[in-house]
């Protein structure tokens, strides 16, 4: 069973529909007590500050910590990836969930004055080995829309790398039963569908 966390951070229509195209009927929940186990999808678009507030208001911060500790497969997407870190520089500094060591920082236009921020469009991902990449060719392109990126403390937590604005940043993270992407698999054609399909059979190990 797939459960999508609805915490007021953006619209979940495209995430839900992407799973429906794969024959899955995800449940959307707005309260922590409605989770009945199984796979969790933690999407999100918007600012880190309002995202964290939305999580806390629904008890989803505790739910994600508990689910991660229990080894439930969790897929973070976009803001859902960024909030897994210890903190973000966005909105003057925001404390994150701390499930993955590291911080979220903004692209520095000084490193590449020609780069347009937000990083918007299709970019390639160089993979680090992980079961969720099983059906996705290395170097596939995914759709990105963001201005901040993850800077994890440990290279072992990186599942994918992408080059933009003068840096090679972590575009996918992994740690135990957590997998998270800065890009939007729900809007990334066959490559994205391949990743979501693999998530549906991943046991979190």
């Amino acid at each position: 069973m797939v459960t999508i966390l609805d915490y007021g951070a953006g619209n979940l229509t495209s995430v839900r529909l992407a799973f429906e195209r794969l024959g899955e009927t995800p449940r959307l929940i707005g309260r922590a007590e409605d989770w009945q186990g199984g796979r969790l999808v933690f999407p999100g678009v918007g600012s880190a500050k309002s995202g964290m507030a939305g999580l806390r208001a629904r008890g989803f911060d505790a739910l994600l910590r508990r689910a991660a500790a229990e080894g439930a497969p969790i897929l973070g997407i976009c803001l859902g990836m960024q909030l897994l870190l210890e903190g973000s520089d966005e909105d003057g500094g925001v404390e994150g969930l701390g499930l993955i060591p590291g911080r979220c920082v903004r692209f520095d236009p000084a490193l590449d004055p020609a780069a347009k921020i937000p990083h918007m469009g299709w970019n390639t991902v160089a993979q680090a080995p992980h079961p969720l990449w099983a059906g996705v060719p290395d170097g596939s392109a995914f759709y990105f829309v963001h201005s901040y990126f993850a800077r994890p403390s440990e290279a072992a937590d990186v599942a994918g790398w992408t080059d933009f604005c003068g840096v090679r940043f972590a575009s996918a993270l992994r740690r135990g039963s957590l997998f998270a992407t800065q890009f939007h698999p729900e809007r990334s054609g066959e490559a994205g569908a391949g990743l979501l399909r693999a998530f549906l059979s991943w046991e979190g190990r």
Partner: protein, 256 residues
Amino acid sequence: MLLKRLIVCLDVRDGRVTKGVRFQGNVDVGDPVEMAARYCEQGADEIVFYDITASAERRACDLGMVARAARALTIPFTVGGGIRGVEDMRAALLAGADKVSLNSLAVRDPAILTQGAEAFGSQCVVLGMDARRVGPSAAIPSGYEVVVRGGREPTGRDAVAWAREAVARGAGEICLNAIDTDGVRQGYELDITRQVAEAVPVPVVASGGAGEIRHLVDVFREARADAALVASMVHSMGFTCRRIKDGLRQAGIPVR
């Protein structure tokens, strides 16, 4: 590396994609969502649905079509035409659109760009701009004037100045349609595309004039466009998105 995008635009009239044929009026060429799904399979990076009749009739865009597109497409899509305010934007986004394109409404009421960006984020707000070559003057230093109503109505605004203002107000992308080259198939208007692309810190989509793969190569290489929009090339001139992408790749343009 960030790749260059190929965007397919579908003009929708009364729920169908039509094509103007001389002496015969508009001929039905297909269902917009079915066509979009085919382009998506061929490797298009994004789709734009432009609801022409909604805009003319001042009614909301067809949310049923937006919902069907959201179900069928695995790539981002934009809807334009018939957006009358923030509530119409919200409805289109909730139905599954990724972005909303604002054109004449933004000229009439620029505050909509800020309202849209504050409510949904700049990444959802595309400024659609039609520009016509008028030659440089004190009032129009770029030499290109913003026009509305399909080019019938000049606004007195300079295209580059309007692009800068729109971004300052909240637009996260600019889709620049050159009226002079639109439908002529002799290539994009490189001059104004480059001027706008160099003036704003957000992505610029070039539109109007594509008839050959070389035209896309030129607009990426010489005008610094981030994306190129095509319509008749794939609707009626026999090109597939795949063939266009292959041609771009051979020319050294990084594409998906």
